[in-house]
């Protein structure tokens, strides 16, 4: 069975936030909840880089390990999902996640946070596939329709890749190979550029 993965190619990400808006608009995610966001490092300085980040659907997902009510589970294709009806909003998953992926709909510093929300890889949730309830709680189920997630589908420069890990890796490997030719090769500019 295929293993689904995300990959954001920072050489191509242009910080347009098209992925963010596609995700929110297509899944009716409330304002304040960010299943995906674009992070820019060294903004306005030499070496500026942007990367689009969401739940990475980890192989050994720490959120699953720490959830006290077993609300988070992993499908055979690697997609990590949360059952919002089980989630108690404790926030342990947020502490455990290395990517800051889990989101909570209520903004108070203390008190109830509401059920956790995060990227579903556009694979819906535990409710019946294509049911109104699945759509209401989790958004679209594009994986069941045979489509890539909205974010990757939207990406203008194809920086954000999503899908079968083998295919994603092949696409990326080919890019790195192309870039590696000539002066893009690692160390070449330092070694051979005439100052």
């Amino acid at each position: 069975m295929a293993r689904l993965k995300f990959l954001c190619d920072t050489e191509r990400c242009i910080d347009c936030s098209g992925c963010v808006v596609a995700c929110k608009e297509g899944n009716h995610v409330p304002v304040g909840v960010n299943r995906r966001r674009v992070i820019t490092l060294d903004s306005g300085k030499p070496g500026e880089k942007s990367i689009s980040v969401s739940c990475m659907h980890c192989a050994d997902a720490p959120c699953i390990a720490v959830c006290p009510v077993d609300a988070i589970y992993q499908r055979d294709d690697g997609v990590v999902l949360v059952n919002k009806k089980t989630c108690i909003g404790c926030g342990y998953c947020f502490m455990a996640c290395p990517f800051g992926a889990p989101q909570f709909p209520k903004g108070e510093v203390f008190g109830a946070r509401g059920a956790m929300d995060k990227c579903t890889f556009c694979a819906g949730g535990p409710e019946e596939t294509f049911s109104a309830e699945e759509k209401h709680l989790y958004g679209q189920n594009r994986i069941a329709e045979g489509k890539v997630p909205l974010c990757a589908g939207m990406c203008a420069t194809k920086a954000l890749l999503a899908g079968d890990a083998d295919v994603v890796a092949d696409v990326y490997r080919e890019r790195v190979f192309q870039r590696g030719s000539g002066s893009n090769a690692w160390g070449w500019s330092k070694a051979y550029d005439k100052k």
């Binding site: 808006v21 500026e48 002066s183």
Partner: protein, 716 residues
């Protein structure tokens, strides 16, 4: 664009000047990055700001706003001094080259450093990179045009490409990205003060041509004008229409403007926007046709305004023209919702009410297909003839058969056509012209020479030299009956030429003879109908360099410029910089669009960019004694001011302040959010950056100079 977005994939180097594609044209980036990754193409970004495009560049060149022409002339100086110019291209297809060299010899890298702030070393480096990596694709946008010498600046871009021999070649060209999905279409329709559709101008013959196309009596149209001469006098331009309302300046018509229709136009993209607001309140009638109430709805204190809700692009259909000159069909997804109507319906109701629908709908039975057909009948200058609604739809249905690199259909029902039939597409059988001025292909297969538009011979004022303006012997498209340059086609059908022969026989005869209907000439370095026949640097009207004003002064004041006078010399005050020491420039952010009425009404885009700000270098901010996030006043020499949040960033240098121009709903410190129609206020309001953009207009096009004004800044 002379080439297409897709063709940029073939560039061996790319230079962007006054263009920030990741924010303004994100989709184009896939092709730009393709060239970078696949061809190892260096990307050179010339901009006052270290933009998001600069983050993808191999070389970032920080330039002082408004000095683009000097940098280009400097590059030409280095290229020609080193013998890197394309000598054969210049010999056979360019005119006025010696006169160009007489100008560029003074723009040494050292002189350019003094004007632009770009080191002589970097100018030499960029010239070398371009010379060694041909063809180069050159892109500019509003950063190149919105200056008092904008028309000269854009000409220097073209001259650089001529000198390098990059025109008419795949991977080369001058590729000006258009700002909206159908702006090229709107331009081709000449929604302008000085042109009839398809760049026909306002001459009597032009009116008569379109009257024949519309089947309208010329004498009747003439009778609609209070004076016949007004028919051929350019109207008020988009940049300065409000002066026609305010009537404070001398007008070249009998009465001020009394009524205004703003159709899909958020006017806070106008410079000196507070004066626009004054004009709103003086108008007897203001009609805003838009899916969203624009700032006009809130800015009017009088009840002179009508809002007509128009349908969005998803609620209507018709042909649209992309930045690559490709024509596509937009299909309706849903009928107009609520009580909105599509633009065709609104126009038809208006024309009916005004009582001349019988005159203008003679050829229009099926909307919008017949509109495209009528256009194809009349727009001969730019070859809108072969793109029938049937062919456009066929292309879209068979989109998968077109090659992403060449844009040509490989087999299938559109075999051999270029996607969207990029204009000119001369006949029903013509495949479209993917690259302008490309003499490697026959004209019938999408090739073209340079156009013969300005006579066959010219004696230059500067040198006294006489030169043949037609292409050299032996230089022509394959299969051309005349082996070399030739004049434009006329008198094939007596009394007409290729632009006015509605039978289109002239076009067909020319192509059958392997020739271009518009002739085969040289590209001009000397434009004898412009004030600067060879472009030179002139300091911005409001320059931060009094010493350079003396050396590179602006033009004399211009009388009867459209329907107003425009100040140049009398506006260029060397003392101004003492009180207004910082350069102000504007631009786009990716999240918002144009005047922002639509995007600021979208909750997710509003969430991403919820606030107006001014980019200020941390060193400047610290020296002035305010902190990142403080509210500051920015004041223009015209006396207008805005209160905005200071955003410290090294994107800008210590002398430059950058404003995004998409915000509206706050005017000079006062929020107007309560004045929007109930329930229609956008999620995000903010000060209009254009309240503080300065006076200044291009001497030819009258485009506003929003990129190189002066301002002062103080803590609020």
């Amino acid at each position: 664009m002379t080439n297409s977005l897709n063709d940029m994939r073939h560039a061996k180097s790319l230079i962007f000047i006054g263009s920030n594609a990741p924010e303004a044209h994100p989709i184009s980036m896939q092709h730009i990055l393709h060239a970078k990754e696949k061809n190892n193409a260096p990307i050179i970004v010339v901009d006052p700001r270290r933009t998001k495009l600069a983050a993808k560049a191999t070389d970032f060149v920080r330039i002082r706003p408004g000095t683009d022409a000097a940098f280009m002339l400097g590059l030409i100086n280095v290229i020609t001094t080193n013998g890197w110019e394309d000598k054969e291209f210049i010999r056979t297809r360019v005119s006025g080259y010696e006169e160009l060299l007489a100008v560029t010899k003074d723009y040494t890298p050292e002189a350019v450093e003094e004007i632009t702030g770009i080191s002589a070393e970097q100018t030499r480096h960029v010239a070398k990179v371009l010379a060694e990596n041909r063809p180069t694709s050159l892109t500019w946008c509003m950063g190149g045009t919105q200056h008092s010498i904008g028309s000269s600046i854009t000409r220097t871009f073209c001259l650089l490409q001529l000198v390098l021999g990059n025109m008419g070649k795949s991977g080369g060209g001058t590729n000006i990205f258009r700002g909206h999905d159908n702006v090229q279409g709107a331009t081709d329709m000449c929604v302008l003060a000085d042109n009839l559709p398809a760049y026909y101008g306002l001459a009597e013959g032009s009116w008569k041509h379109w009257c024949r196309v519309w089947d309208v009596d010329y004498e009747w149209i003439k009778s609609r004008f209070p004076k016949p001469e007004l028919m051929q006098l350019p109207g008020f331009s988009l940049a300065r229409w409000y002066e026609g309302v305010l009537g404070e300046e001398k007008l070249y018509q009998d009465t001020p403007l009394k009524a205004m229709i703003q159709w899909g136009c958020g006017a806070n993209s106008n410079s000196q926007y507070n004066r626009v607001v004054q004009a709103y309140n003086k108008l007897e009638l203001l009609v805003v046709v838009d899916p969203f109430p624009t700032m006009a709805a809130a800015a009017c204190d009088t009840d002179n305004i009508y809002l007509l809700p128009s349908a969005s692009q998803y609620e209507t259909s018709g042909s649209v023209t992309s930045t690559s000159r490709q024509i596509q069909w937009r299909h309706k997804v849903v009928d107009p919702v609520h009580n909105s109507k599509d633009d065709y319906q609104i126009m038809e109701l208006l024309v009916n009410k005004l009582g001349f629908a019988d005159k203008f709908y003679k050829n229009i039975k099926q909307v919008p297909e017949d509109l495209t057909r009528e256009l194809g009948r009349g727009a001969l200058t730019i070859g809108y003839n072969g793109q029938t609604p049937e062919r456009i739809k066929k292309h879209m249905e068979n989109w998968h058969t077109f090659d992403i690199d060449s844009l040509q259909a490989i087999g299938g029902p559109c075999d051999g056509d270029y996607y969207g039939m990029p204009w000119p597409c001369w006949t029903d059988e013509h495949p479209g012209t993917p690259i302008l001025y490309d003499i490697s292909k026959p004209v019938a297969k999408g090739g073209l020479p340079f156009r013969n538009r300005f006579g066959n011979e010219k004696t230059y004022d500067s040198s006294g030299r006489t030169e043949n303006q037609l292409a050299a012997k032996g230089v022509c498209n394959p299969g051309s009956e005349v082996e070399g340059g030739y004049s434009e086609f006329a008198e094939i059908v007596p009394g007409t030429n290729w632009k006015t022969d509605l039978s289109q026989k002239t076009l067909k005869v020319a192509i059958a003879r392997g020739m271009a209907p518009f002739g085969n000439a040289r590209a001009r370095c000397v434009v004898w109908n412009f004030p600067d026949q060879v472009p030179i640097h002139r300091e911005p009207l409001h320059s931060p360099r009094p010493d350079l004003i003396a050396k590179y002064p602006t033009y004399k004041d211009k009388q009867k410029h459209y329907r107003l006078d425009t100040r140049f010399e009398s506006e260029q005050n060397p003392e101004l910089v003492k009180e207004f020491p910082y350069v102000i420039t504007t631009g786009r952010m990716v999240e918002h669009m144009g005047a922002g009425a639509e995007t600021r009404s979208n909750q997710y885009l509003a969430e991403l960019q919820p606030e107006m700000y001014a980019e200020i270098n941390p060193r400047l901010g610290n020296n002035l004694g305010f902190r990142d996030g403080d509210m500051v006043w920015i004041e223009s020499p015209e006396g207008s001011k805005i209160k905005v949040k200071a955003f410290f960033t090294e994107r800008v240098d210590e002398k430059t302040i950058f404003l995004p121009y998409h915000f509206a709903g706050v005017l000079m410190g006062e929020s107007l959010i309560d004045k929007y129609p109930e329930g229609h206020a956008p999620y995000v309001v903010g000060e209009c950056g254009n309240v503080v953009t300065n006076y200044g207009y291009d001497i030819i096009t009258q485009i506003q100079a929003t990129k190189d004004g002066l301002c002062k800044v103080s803590k609020a």
